[in-house]
Amino acid sequence: MSARVILGEADFDAGAELARLEALGGGGVASFTGVVRGGDGLEALRLEIYPGMTLRALEDIVAEAERRWALLGVTLIHRHGPVPAGGRIVFVGVASRHRRAALEACAFLIDWAKSRAPFWKQEMFADGRSRWVEARAADEDAAAAWDASAEHGCP
Protein backbone atom coordinates (compact mmCIF):
# COMPACT_ATOMS: atom_id res chain seq x y z
CA MET A 1 0.00 0.00 0.00
CA SER A 2 1.35 3.36 -1.00
CA ALA A 3 0.14 6.10 1.36
CA ARG A 4 0.83 9.75 0.65
CA VAL A 5 -0.48 12.25 3.22
CA ILE A 6 0.38 15.91 2.80
CA LEU A 7 -0.63 18.87 4.98
CA GLY A 8 0.62 22.20 3.67
CA GLU A 9 -0.18 25.66 2.40
CA ALA A 10 0.83 25.05 -1.20
CA ASP A 11 -1.53 24.24 -4.05
CA PHE A 12 -1.24 20.79 -5.64
CA ASP A 13 -1.53 19.23 -9.10
CA ALA A 14 -4.53 16.89 -8.98
CA GLY A 15 -3.68 15.49 -12.43
CA ALA A 16 -0.18 14.49 -11.35
CA GLU A 17 -1.61 12.88 -8.20
CA LEU A 18 -4.07 10.85 -10.30
CA ALA A 19 -1.28 9.75 -12.65
CA ARG A 20 0.74 8.51 -9.68
CA LEU A 21 -2.22 6.41 -8.49
CA GLU A 22 -2.98 5.10 -12.01
CA ALA A 23 0.61 3.82 -12.24
CA LEU A 24 0.15 1.48 -9.28
CA GLY A 25 -1.23 -1.33 -11.44
CA GLY A 26 -4.77 -1.53 -10.05
CA GLY A 27 -8.00 -1.62 -11.98
CA GLY A 28 -9.49 1.61 -10.69
CA VAL A 29 -8.74 5.04 -9.29
CA ALA A 30 -11.38 7.17 -7.56
CA SER A 31 -10.82 10.74 -6.46
CA PHE A 32 -12.45 13.77 -4.87
CA THR A 33 -11.20 17.35 -5.12
CA GLY A 34 -12.66 19.97 -2.78
CA VAL A 35 -12.75 23.52 -4.14
CA VAL A 36 -13.57 26.79 -2.34
CA ARG A 37 -17.11 27.81 -3.28
CA GLY A 38 -17.24 31.48 -4.29
CA GLY A 39 -20.20 33.85 -4.30
CA ASP A 40 -21.67 36.41 -1.86
CA GLY A 41 -18.43 38.38 -1.90
CA LEU A 42 -16.35 35.50 -0.58
CA GLU A 43 -12.71 36.17 -1.38
CA ALA A 44 -10.99 33.28 0.36
CA LEU A 45 -11.21 30.65 3.05
CA ARG A 46 -8.60 30.56 5.76
CA LEU A 47 -8.07 27.14 7.32
CA GLU A 48 -6.65 26.93 10.82
CA ILE A 49 -4.97 23.73 12.03
CA TYR A 50 -3.78 22.22 15.30
CA PRO A 51 -0.08 21.97 14.45
CA GLY A 52 0.66 19.11 16.86
CA MET A 53 -2.33 17.00 15.81
CA THR A 54 -3.77 17.67 12.36
CA LEU A 55 -1.26 15.70 10.25
CA ARG A 56 -1.42 12.71 12.57
CA ALA A 57 -5.22 12.77 12.49
CA LEU A 58 -5.11 12.63 8.67
CA GLU A 59 -2.59 9.76 8.80
CA ASP A 60 -4.87 7.89 11.22
CA ILE A 61 -7.83 8.34 8.83
CA VAL A 62 -5.78 6.90 5.95
CA ALA A 63 -4.70 3.98 8.15
CA GLU A 64 -8.37 3.32 8.97
CA ALA A 65 -9.23 3.25 5.25
CA GLU A 66 -6.40 0.75 4.67
CA ARG A 67 -7.81 -1.40 7.45
CA ARG A 68 -11.31 -1.39 5.95
CA TRP A 69 -10.60 -1.84 2.23
CA ALA A 70 -8.03 -3.64 0.08
CA LEU A 71 -6.22 -0.66 -1.43
CA LEU A 72 -3.13 -0.24 -3.59
CA GLY A 73 -2.63 3.44 -2.91
CA VAL A 74 -4.13 6.40 -1.06
CA THR A 75 -3.29 10.07 -1.47
CA LEU A 76 -4.74 12.62 0.95
CA ILE A 77 -3.69 16.25 0.53
CA HIS A 78 -5.21 18.95 2.74
CA ARG A 79 -4.26 22.59 2.56
CA HIS A 80 -4.30 25.13 5.36
CA GLY A 81 -3.80 28.88 5.51
CA PRO A 82 -5.56 31.09 2.96
CA VAL A 83 -7.13 29.47 -0.13
CA PRO A 84 -8.79 31.83 -2.66
CA ALA A 85 -12.32 31.28 -4.02
CA GLY A 86 -12.09 28.65 -6.73
CA GLY A 87 -8.89 27.22 -5.25
CA ARG A 88 -8.37 23.57 -4.34
CA ILE A 89 -8.53 22.77 -0.61
CA VAL A 90 -8.44 19.00 -0.42
CA PHE A 91 -7.66 16.00 -2.62
CA VAL A 92 -8.49 12.38 -1.94
CA GLY A 93 -7.34 9.72 -4.39
CA VAL A 94 -7.62 5.96 -4.00
CA ALA A 95 -6.28 3.16 -6.19
CA SER A 96 -7.61 -0.34 -5.88
CA ARG A 97 -7.95 -3.50 -7.92
CA HIS A 98 -11.73 -3.01 -8.16
CA ARG A 99 -13.97 0.03 -8.35
CA ARG A 100 -16.13 -0.58 -5.30
CA ALA A 101 -13.24 -0.45 -2.82
CA ALA A 102 -11.85 2.67 -4.51
CA LEU A 103 -15.21 4.49 -4.56
CA GLU A 104 -16.18 3.55 -1.00
CA ALA A 105 -12.77 4.34 0.46
CA CYS A 106 -12.74 7.71 -1.32
CA ALA A 107 -16.13 8.65 0.15
CA PHE A 108 -15.04 7.46 3.60
CA LEU A 109 -11.80 9.47 3.47
CA ILE A 110 -13.47 12.78 2.61
CA ASP A 111 -16.30 12.23 5.11
CA TRP A 112 -13.80 11.63 7.92
CA ALA A 113 -11.42 14.39 6.79
CA LYS A 114 -14.37 16.81 7.16
CA SER A 115 -15.24 15.92 10.71
CA ARG A 116 -12.48 13.77 12.26
CA ALA A 117 -9.46 16.02 11.77
CA PRO A 118 -8.80 19.38 13.45
CA PHE A 119 -9.39 22.08 10.84
CA TRP A 120 -11.42 25.26 11.24
CA LYS A 121 -12.58 27.24 8.21
CA GLN A 122 -12.98 31.00 8.29
CA GLU A 123 -14.67 32.82 5.39
CA MET A 124 -12.92 36.03 4.36
CA PHE A 125 -15.04 38.53 2.42
CA ALA A 126 -13.98 41.22 -0.02
CA ASP A 127 -15.40 43.96 2.24
CA GLY A 128 -13.11 42.90 5.09
CA ARG A 129 -15.65 40.88 7.08
CA SER A 130 -14.82 37.36 8.23
CA ARG A 131 -16.94 34.58 9.63
CA TRP A 132 -16.13 31.16 11.14
CA VAL A 133 -17.89 28.37 9.27
CA GLU A 134 -20.23 26.39 11.51
CA ALA A 135 -20.04 22.61 11.52
CA ARG A 136 -23.01 20.99 9.78
CA ALA A 137 -24.85 18.16 11.49
CA ALA A 138 -25.11 16.45 8.08
CA ASP A 139 -21.30 16.24 7.88
CA GLU A 140 -21.06 14.63 11.31
CA ASP A 141 -23.88 12.24 10.37
CA ALA A 142 -22.00 11.27 7.19
CA ALA A 143 -18.84 10.55 9.20
CA ALA A 144 -20.78 8.64 11.86
CA ALA A 145 -22.52 6.51 9.24
CA TRP A 146 -19.15 4.88 8.57
CA ASP A 147 -18.94 3.91 12.26
CA ALA A 148 -22.18 2.00 11.89
CA SER A 149 -20.78 0.24 8.82
CA ALA A 150 -17.39 -0.55 10.40
CA GLU A 151 -17.84 -4.23 9.62
CA HIS A 152 -18.66 -3.41 6.02
CA GLY A 153 -16.08 -3.07 3.29
CA CYS A 154 -12.83 -5.05 3.03
CA PRO A 155 -13.96 -7.55 0.42
Binding site: G52, M53, A113, K114, S115, W120, D139
Partner: protein
Amino acid sequence: MAIELLYFAWVREAIGRDGEAVEPPADVADVAGLIGWLAARGGGYAEALASAARLRCAVDQRFAPLDTPLAGAREIAIFPPVTGG
Protein backbone atom coordinates in the same frame (compact mmCIF):
# COMPACT_ATOMS: atom_id res chain seq x y z
CA MET B 1 0.18 19.93 38.07
CA ALA B 2 0.27 22.49 35.28
CA ILE B 3 -1.75 21.76 32.15
CA GLU B 4 -0.91 23.36 28.82
CA LEU B 5 -4.08 24.77 27.23
CA LEU B 6 -4.51 25.54 23.54
CA TYR B 7 -7.38 27.50 21.97
CA PHE B 8 -8.43 27.44 18.33
CA ALA B 9 -10.71 29.37 15.94
CA TRP B 10 -13.30 31.64 17.61
CA VAL B 11 -12.38 30.30 21.04
CA ARG B 12 -8.85 31.64 20.48
CA GLU B 13 -10.17 34.95 19.14
CA ALA B 14 -12.63 35.53 22.01
CA ILE B 15 -10.05 34.68 24.69
CA GLY B 16 -7.43 36.74 22.89
CA ARG B 17 -4.59 34.26 23.15
CA ASP B 18 -3.72 30.90 21.58
CA GLY B 19 -2.88 29.11 24.81
CA GLU B 20 -1.58 29.26 28.37
CA ALA B 21 -0.45 27.06 31.25
CA VAL B 22 -2.94 26.67 34.12
CA GLU B 23 -3.09 24.89 37.47
CA PRO B 24 -6.78 24.27 38.16
CA PRO B 25 -7.87 23.57 41.77
CA ALA B 26 -8.27 19.95 42.85
CA ASP B 27 -12.08 20.05 42.62
CA VAL B 28 -11.90 20.63 38.85
CA ALA B 29 -12.04 17.01 37.78
CA ASP B 30 -12.71 16.90 34.05
CA VAL B 31 -12.56 19.02 30.89
CA ALA B 32 -16.13 20.26 31.36
CA GLY B 33 -15.18 21.39 34.87
CA LEU B 34 -12.08 23.09 33.47
CA ILE B 35 -14.21 24.95 30.91
CA GLY B 36 -16.56 26.15 33.68
CA TRP B 37 -13.61 27.21 35.85
CA LEU B 38 -12.09 29.20 32.96
CA ALA B 39 -15.46 30.75 32.00
CA ALA B 40 -15.78 32.10 35.57
CA ARG B 41 -12.84 34.41 34.80
CA GLY B 42 -15.36 36.48 32.81
CA GLY B 43 -14.61 38.69 29.80
CA GLY B 44 -13.49 36.82 26.69
CA TYR B 45 -13.31 33.56 28.64
CA ALA B 46 -16.98 33.79 29.56
CA GLU B 47 -17.88 34.74 25.98
CA ALA B 48 -15.93 31.83 24.46
CA LEU B 49 -16.72 29.16 27.04
CA ALA B 50 -20.23 29.95 28.30
CA SER B 51 -21.85 27.13 26.33
CA ALA B 52 -20.01 23.79 26.61
CA ALA B 53 -22.41 22.33 24.04
CA ARG B 54 -20.71 24.46 21.37
CA LEU B 55 -17.23 23.21 22.34
CA ARG B 56 -15.09 20.19 21.62
CA CYS B 57 -11.74 19.18 23.06
CA ALA B 58 -8.62 17.13 22.53
CA VAL B 59 -6.62 15.67 25.41
CA ASP B 60 -2.95 15.09 24.62
CA GLN B 61 -3.70 15.58 20.92
CA ARG B 62 -6.57 13.06 20.71
CA PHE B 63 -10.23 14.03 20.36
CA ALA B 64 -11.92 13.31 23.68
CA PRO B 65 -15.36 13.80 25.28
CA LEU B 66 -15.79 16.75 27.65
CA ASP B 67 -16.16 14.40 30.63
CA THR B 68 -12.56 13.18 30.19
CA PRO B 69 -10.74 13.40 33.55
CA LEU B 70 -7.90 15.91 33.86
CA ALA B 71 -5.75 13.45 35.81
CA GLY B 72 -2.56 12.78 33.85
CA ALA B 73 -3.41 15.20 31.01
CA ARG B 74 -0.52 17.37 29.84
CA GLU B 75 -2.09 19.26 26.91
CA ILE B 76 -5.76 20.13 26.47
CA ALA B 77 -7.09 21.92 23.42
CA ILE B 78 -10.52 23.62 23.46
CA PHE B 79 -12.17 24.52 20.16
CA PRO B 80 -15.42 24.65 18.16
CA PRO B 81 -16.60 21.60 16.18
CA VAL B 82 -14.15 21.02 13.33
CA THR B 83 -14.87 22.08 9.73
CA GLY B 84 -12.28 20.45 7.49
CA GLY B 85 -12.55 18.98 4.02
